[in-house]
């Protein structure tokens, strides 16, 4: 009998142990959208990077959650005095998940492929300053530029610049082979993607044995899945109105981090009356940012006064330039010859910041006499008509690319801001590598577009993550779309 009891005890102990083990080494992660494919070098969808960035694929450099750029597959580098030549020293002993060695040839292949004539890389402009990539020896690569580029190391940290192998790139869309701490295991399309720990990882191995990504875009379903503990982490939780409920529940932790998403009320600078700076200024003063953040985002988000991320050390707070002042707005409209206001269109893409924010902005504009006719558009339609076709008066969108103030130097960009002074400033910035000089130039650029009231600057988009209490190592901020699980662990 005693024997039997011991057996039972031992049995149940091992049973519970195995249950606990299974709990503690696998992570079920939910996100809103399913990636269309898993090749980050051939598509713009953020969902691709969310799954593969740093987990499966790595670049020469990489982003950390705080936005800093640190060595990745390149352990160190030297920059020539004229800033035209970068010599990268690669980590040794790195292999791809299929067992092939990662060396300088792969780096050359990856970068040449991304900037090739027939490349389908969504961020091809990142590589436009590269003149030549040459292999010095198996662990050394030299990149020659056609002009100095102060942001090369930053550009190489993007998911679009990861190192891939010529042997496996053909099938990367459905079976990605990288060098990361996790290996791709399985993809049930429409349902989930599974990854497992890479046992031969060159760096610090992952704590988790495995993880699976699930895709839930419906806000009600997302709430139910977290509450029922069907998922352990939800990155980019779609219903900010539910966050206080999770915060009050000891089973969960809520992380609200920042992104690189400057959410703006874009105005068509080439279309009357927005070609008049007084009108743009009037729109800017008609907007109550805090009311939009509270109403559309349930209080999460940081007000911005220019097109720059507030958590960046070079950020200049210019919100006072466009403070909420309906009286001033009406006066400006009168000065512009539009005392009775005017009618325009407001095209809204699907995200809730745009749809909810758009309703509030339309009401605020109505108070100063501007009638904004709202039209809801799907992304594909928005891209074709608004973004490419320039058929809009105003639109709301979050510009999620990091450090993208350069878009103001492109007069053909959808809001069509054409200012030679800013264009010259940006050219100088690209060729400046001295950090202090760069900071000064960036401050100048921020002030210039804010004083020109190019767009209505609303807020920096925040990303809420809901996770089971005790899970450590999740990214708080999203300097790039990524759900980096390499440092994540259960308590």
């Amino acid at each position: 009998m005693k024997y039997l009891t011991n057996l039972l005890l031992a049995g149940s102990a091992s049973l519970f142990a195995s249950v606990a083990m299974a709990q503690n080494t696998n992570l079920r992660v939910a996100m809103q959208l399913e990636p269309p494919n898993l090749d980050p070098t051939a598509g713009a969808a953020q969902a691709i990077d969310s799954v593969v960035y740093s987990n499966i694929f790595e670049g020469l450099t990489r982003f950390m959650s705080d936005g800093s750029v640190v060595p990745g597959l390149a352990k160190s580098w030297e920059i020539s005095g004229d800033g035209l030549s970068y010599t990268f020293h690669l980590q040794s002993g790195v292999t791809f998940h299929d067992g092939t060695t990662m060396d300088a040839e792969d780096v050359k292949f990856s970068l040449d492929r991304a900037r090739a004539e027939d490349s389908t890389n969504a961020q091809k402009a990142l590589f436009s300053s590269i003149a030549e990539v040459s292999v010095v020896d198996p662990l050394t690569v030299q990149i020659t530029l056609n002009a100095p580029n102060g942001s090369l190391l930053f550009n190489l940290a993007w998911g679009d610049a990861v190192i891939v192998a010529p042997e496996s790139i053909e099938t990367a869309a459905t079976k990605p082979i990288g060098t990361g701490a996790f290996m791709f295991s399985n993809w049930v399309q429409g349902d989930r993607i599974d990854i497992v720990r890479n046992p031969t990882y060159w760096g610090t191995p992952a704590t988790l044995d495995s993880a699976s990504f699930r895709f839930i875009s419906d806000p009600t379903a997302a709430f139910a899945a977290v509450m029922a503990e069907d998922v352990d982490v939800f990155v980019g939780f779609p219903a900010p109105e539910n966050l206080p409920q999770f915060e009050a529940d000891p089973r969960f932790q809520v992380l609200v981090g920042n992104t690189e998403g400057e959410t703006i009320l874009a105005m068509n600078n080439a279309l009357p009356p927005f070609d008049n700076v007084l009108v743009r200024q009037a729109v800017a003063h008609a907007i109550d940012r805090q009311a939009i953040i509270d109403g559309a985002m349930y209080g999460i988000g940081t007000p911005i006064g220019t097109h720059f991320a507030p958590h960046n050390p070079d950020y200049v707070d210019l919100t006072a330039l466009s403070a909420y002042d309906p009286e001033k707005s009406r006066a400006l409209l009168a000065e512009a010859g539009l005392p009775d206001g005017f009618t325009t269109t407001l095209k809204l893409p699907p995200p809730s910041y745009a749809r909810r924010g758009g309703e509030i902005i339309a009401a605020q504009l109505r108070a100063v006499g501007i009638t904004a006719e709202i039209e809801n558009q799907e992304w594909a339609q928005w891209l074709e008509n608004t973004f490419k076709g320039h058929d809009f008066g105003m639109t709301i969108v979050s510009h999620t690319e990091p450090m993208d103030i350069g878009i103001y130097a492109n007069p053909k960009y959808y809001f069509q801001y054409d200012n030679p002074a800013l264009q010259a400033l940006m050219t100088t910035l690209t060729s400046t590598t001295d950090p202090a000089a760069r900071s000064a130039l960036l401050a100048q650029a921020q002030t210039m577009i804010a004083e020109d009231y190019v767009n209505g600057y609303l807020f920096e988009l925040a990303v809420p993550t809901v996770a089971r209490a005790g899970i450590n190592g999740l990214w708080l901020n999203q300097p790039t779309a990524a759900i980096d699980l390499t440092a994540v662990s259960w308590p």
Binding site: E34, A44, T120, A225, L383, E401
Partner: protein, 315 residues
Amino acid sequence: MMRYTMGRLISLCLSLIVASIVIFTVVEVVPGDPAAYMLGVNARPDTLAALRSELGLDMSLPERYFAWTTGMMQGDFGQSYTYRTPIAAMIADRVWVSLPLALFALTLTIVIAFPAGIYAASRRGKLGDLGVMGATQLGVAVPNFWFAMILVMIFAIKLRWFSAGGFAGWEGGLLSGLKSLLLPAVALALPQAAILARVMRSSLLDMLGEDFIRTARAKGLSRRQALWRHALRNALIPVLTIIGLQFSFLLAGGIVIEQIFFLPGLGRLIFQAISARDLIVVESVVMLLVFVVIVVNFVIDLTYAAVDPRLRLRK
């Protein structure tokens, strides 16, 4: 019977051809370039052109229509723009969720509706009838996604008997698969059962007023015997029509339910494909659903003939 079947077959083929033309034109006319969607806001014109030619989007509309329809007749639906995998394989994967879900929901519908309808008809005007009619009134009025949310709140969040969504897969056995389909199937079935029960009841009551029932009663059958032996079979024709329509609805109309329960079925595939402008996937899946609906109607037409000999014998 032969002639009847041939006639139905010809109308089936014509419907398919017309449907393919309508689907293709409607989907292609909608604004939104798949390549632009995939490459996002920073894409350069040369990159876009490279992708468009890779996807075959630089061909003319008639060329693409022709390539699409001839491919389909050989069972080749083409490749998805976004997933870059064969559509036939994607559909095959998804059908294993949507078809069982539709059949499960249809079974539940019939299991609930038949007894309820027959019971109400046999108790016409009495308390039981009023109860069934009241309940079905509610069932018809309440949309299935609302039922879905209530079910999730009670059985997934409060009681934790079921997952809030997701599909366990058939690899884990029939039971685990059915378990993950139970809540969605119930949510889909309740409004349909309410409709079907009402049709069953009114159809039976119509029959009970017919001369042949009076004859049967005059022969000495009780009201109940007349109902079971004579009225029921004749009342089935309108009921079968509704079941046919409902099956098509359940197969295609799971879109919202599949979103709420994040099930990897055909509805979710269409939903994702529409927003990603994966036009060829939208066209192929919709065409497949049209095909199923038309075939189901064809089968229902043949069933009429089996139930009603007059249709069979007519020249």
